[in-house]
Amino acid sequence: MKSWPRFAKAQSVNPIPVATYMTGTVYIALGAMMGLLGLTDWLLGEDALGFFVGAAVGLGLGLVLRQLGSPQAEPRRAEALLTVAGLWMMVPILGAIPFWISGGLSYLDALFEATSGFSTTGATILANFDQFSYGLFFWRGLSQWFGGMGILLLFIVVLPHLALAGRQMFFAETTGVQKQQLTPKLRQTAYYILRVYLLLTLLTLTAYLLTGVPVFEAIANTFSSVSAGGFSPNPQSFAGYAPLTQWIAAGVMFLTGVNLLLQYRAIFGREHSAPLRDPEFRAYALIVLTVGLVMAGVLFFHHDYALEPALRHAFFQTTSIITGTGFASADFAQWVIPAQTLLVMLMFVGGSAGSVGGSIKVIRWLIVAALVRRELQRALHPQAVLPLRVGNKNIAEDVVRSVAAFITLYVGLFALGALVMGILEEDFVVAFTASAAAIGNVGPGLGEVGPMAHYGNLHPISKAVMIFQMWAGRIELIAVFSLFTPELWRRLRA
């Protein structure tokens, strides 16, 4: 394509060519997608104006940005971080347009919903589910499906390639580089991820349909199940579905918290026992089992649940919250405090590394536990040189440091968000749980923002805080926080 003279000049002075190019490309793709959806919606007789406007903006801006930028095989780290952080915010900004124009929401609310979608959070601003057409619900679910795919590609392919924050460590382990050489080529790895993700999508959809979920809801719920997102076109979330559906969903949600490469090895690589040998999987499974059983006990003794419903609701909620999905099979904002407290604590645990689960992630907790154990030993033997081990693998010191920094930033951002929202909302429970649910990409909180309620009544600044937290939490903070360091901008200008 012939570049116009002024574009060529603009291109050469663009300090962030890759970021611009990538954003442009993604905008074009999204625009095309919205165009298609708009067409379908229009043929179905629904209000498709939002989609058409979104398509126009996406295609138009996308083309311009793409022209202004240029692809590079090896961008500088600073730019790579900026691209990642930028994309994850620019996409919802565009994706909010249909909600805004056709959904009857303010732009802030629409942005909240879109961010909640693409970050696979699942917190909703919708008070009245009649506001949204089928098309909008489909778009909402789709945004989560894409969000999940994007985050998997980011974590498993892009970031280890950049050797960012020791992440290559996590995946060297789970790709089992020692035992079976899963080829380290990026494209291959991406292919593996997509295979598992698509397989899970198909299986989940089939299972939902077979157990009686209405077709449209089954499709939308599948999108938000496999991405650990949590949006449902049904205002009762999963409470209205058959028990079997809820059990299946719990199983699906459990899988969404398992490392995708591990799943690949188990399913396609025929290493069926690989998950059982992985320390992170074992810890994750143990946590789900223990918390699920304790919660079932609380439900059985404190509420009027029979045994099977107690187990079902306990495990459903446990897998839902630990992976940050956020579906609800019951209004757990009405449960007794002990059960609610367990759920809030789960919001800080997270899924496994290399999964769509959010929050801090099990492997980081394992590393922290190993760190604490070692420090206790060094209180007795200060001169000892003790390596840090998780499972049978040594953890390098810089990985430990980045984990410590991550958890600090995470808790710090959570605390700050809780403080600000506590002041604005004058409700401690809402502030605390909303902050935790946003940064952990979980979805529902407790109290006024519980699973059968919505975030629509929050102060605009609270919504802005949550948008920031959903964004930062999804891409694991470092990319976002590095945007605030002068160092990054200095490097980009150089």
Binding site: R77, Q340, A415
Partner: protein
């Protein structure tokens, strides 16, 4: 194996026994003195008498088993520290139990709260205690402060536990003036400042109109950043001047005594002003108080209308109180709006300066954490960079960073675990969370039922046990108590 060797509980813990014995003897003597006092005041002397007898008796027994010449290893030293902070309250609880009309669990809660300088009370009715028991309560806190400052600070620094080896050298400011780094001298100077400030506080409180007995008791609990008051409304009913004095002495109590010693005796304010921790500490007090004052003026709590003077005074008092982990209250902040309460809850997780009797995580550890995070952000852009962490003018070693990281993890975990369990038991998340946070930080008030004008008396027994353990662990900076759970410690003790 030597047939004459005694089994390990006797053989290897000679230092621990000696130490414990001496402490119990000393306490026994103090309780004898208090028994005399209670006789003079015509209050029940039986508690003190029993305590004195048990203390002197057991003390003599332990002393006999022990050996003052025995040099303790690390394991034994850490065990001794942990045991002292458990067994002293066990003994000190006896007067509360027998003469104070409390169950032993409540008495132990009160005594542990005393010796760990927490200040949380299990009293439901302040008329349960006579003057002598209130005095004993406050005295326990003063001793607890001394004990912590001299023993734990020196010992933990010497053993390089929880990053403490940094703090002593940091606050002695080794660069400029060769203030002798020997720990014994440091301990003596700390004691001098501590005693002098206690006296000054008592005088100032009395001048500001606080009744003499309450002035003395409050002074005894201000400097160790402790918080017991014989007045059930804490500082609420005192004059504004008294509250400002309280703020001043609490601030000093949380600022670290070594620097203050240097100020008084060398008359050179520069080390004080250059100290990074002190500057950040003062800044936090200022910032939190300013924000809180604004909230108090703009949000009207139930029936509490403040003028600007009131708002500023209450803001500074309560922020300083919570930050230094003292725990006095000049107003019932359990009735403030959540916005205002949020500031105080945030302050619970900061703590005072390292060379003081304050609890919590401590400002300097948060500074170290901040340095760790800053370095990681830079390294995300520049992975090959080798960046030395610096705090002020001092560079931090890797071991200090790891210790601090592990400490903060343990701290938060202990708070979270306690919050979970107590919320379950009390069926109230706010109570569970704040009770747990204040216990590990040795602060005193939570919110709700356990607010500043409330009491812990109404909690479940198991909740009280959990809080006792948290107060114990929190005062000793977690590592000594957590070590008791590791097989390594016991193996080392047996060898």
């Amino acid at each position: 194996m030597n047939a004459r060797a005694k089994p390990w509980p006797l053989e290897n813990l000679r230092f621990a026994y000696h130490f414990l014995g001496v402490t119990y003897l000393a306490l026994g003597l103090v309780m004898l003195g208090l028994e005399a006092l209670s006789l003079v005041l015509r209050e029940s002397p039986w508690g003190f008498l029993t305590g004195a007898v048990v203390g002197l008796g057991l003390g003599w027994g332990f002393h006999r088993l022990g050996d003052p010449r025995h040099e303790p290893g690390r394991a034994e030293a850490l065990l001794s520290v942990a045991l002292i902070w458990l067994l002293v309250p066990a003994l000190g609880a006896i007067p509360f139990w027998i003469s104070g009309n409390m169950s032993y669990l409540d008495a132990l809660f009160e005594a542990m709260s005393g010796f760990t300088t927490t200040g949380a009370t299990a009293l439901s009715d302040f008329s349960q205690f006579g003057y002598s028991l209130f005095f004993w309560r406050s005295l326990m806190q003063w001793f607890g402060g001394v004990g912590f400052l001299v023993l734990v600070v020196a010992l933990l620094a010497h053993l390089a536990v929880a990053g403490r080896q940094l703090f002593i050298t940091e606050s002695t400011g080794v660069q400029k003036e060769p203030f002798t780094p020997r720990l014994r001298t440091a301990a003596q100077s700390i004691l001098k400042v501590y005693a002098a400030l206690t006296l000054a506080a008592a005088l100032c409180y009395w001048i500001a109109g606080i009744p003499p007995f309450e002035a003395i008791c409050n002074a005894l609990t201000t400097l160790p950043a402790a918080g017991f008051s014989p007045n059930p409304r804490s500082f609420e009913q005192y004059s504004p001047l008294a509250q400002w004095f309280g703020t001043l002495f609490m601030f000093l109590g949380g600022a670290g005594f070594v620097l203050q010693y240097k100020l008084f005796f060398t008359r050179d304010p520069r080390p004080l002003l250059k100290d990074v921790e002190l500057r950040v500490y003062a800044l936090i007090v200022l910032a939190f108080s300013a924000v809180l004052a604004v909230f108090l003026m703009t949000h009207h709590s139930q029936n509490m209308d403040y003028t600007w003077g009131d708002a500023i005074r209450h803001a500074f008092f309560n922020v300083t109180s919570i930050l230094t982990t003292t725990g006095y209250a000049s107003a019932d902040f359990a009735r403030w709006v959540p916005a205002a309460q949020a500031i105080l809850v945030a302050a619970m997780f900061v703590g005072g300066c390292a060379g003081s009797g304050a609890g919590g995580i401590k400002v300097i550890r948060l500074l170290v954490l901040g340095a760790i995070v800053r370095r990681e952000l830079i390294r995300s852009l520049h992975p090959q960079a080798i960046i030395t962490l610096r705090l002020g003018s001092k560079s931090l070693g890797e071991e200090v960073m790891r210790s601090v990281a592990a400490f903060i993890t343990l701290y938060v975990t202990l708070v979270a675990a306690g919050a979970l369990l107590i919320s379950l038991l009390e069926n109230n998340f706010v109570v569970g969370f704040t009770a747990s946070a204040q216990a590990v930080g040795n602060i005193r008030p939570g919110l709700g039922e356990v607010g500043p004008m409330g009491s812990y008396a109404g909690l479940e027994p198991l909740s009280k046990v959990i809080l006792i353990v948290q107060m114990w662990a929190g005062r000793l900076e977690l590592i000594p108590v957590f070590l008791l759970l590791t097989p390594e410690l016991w193996k080392k003790l047996k060898s």
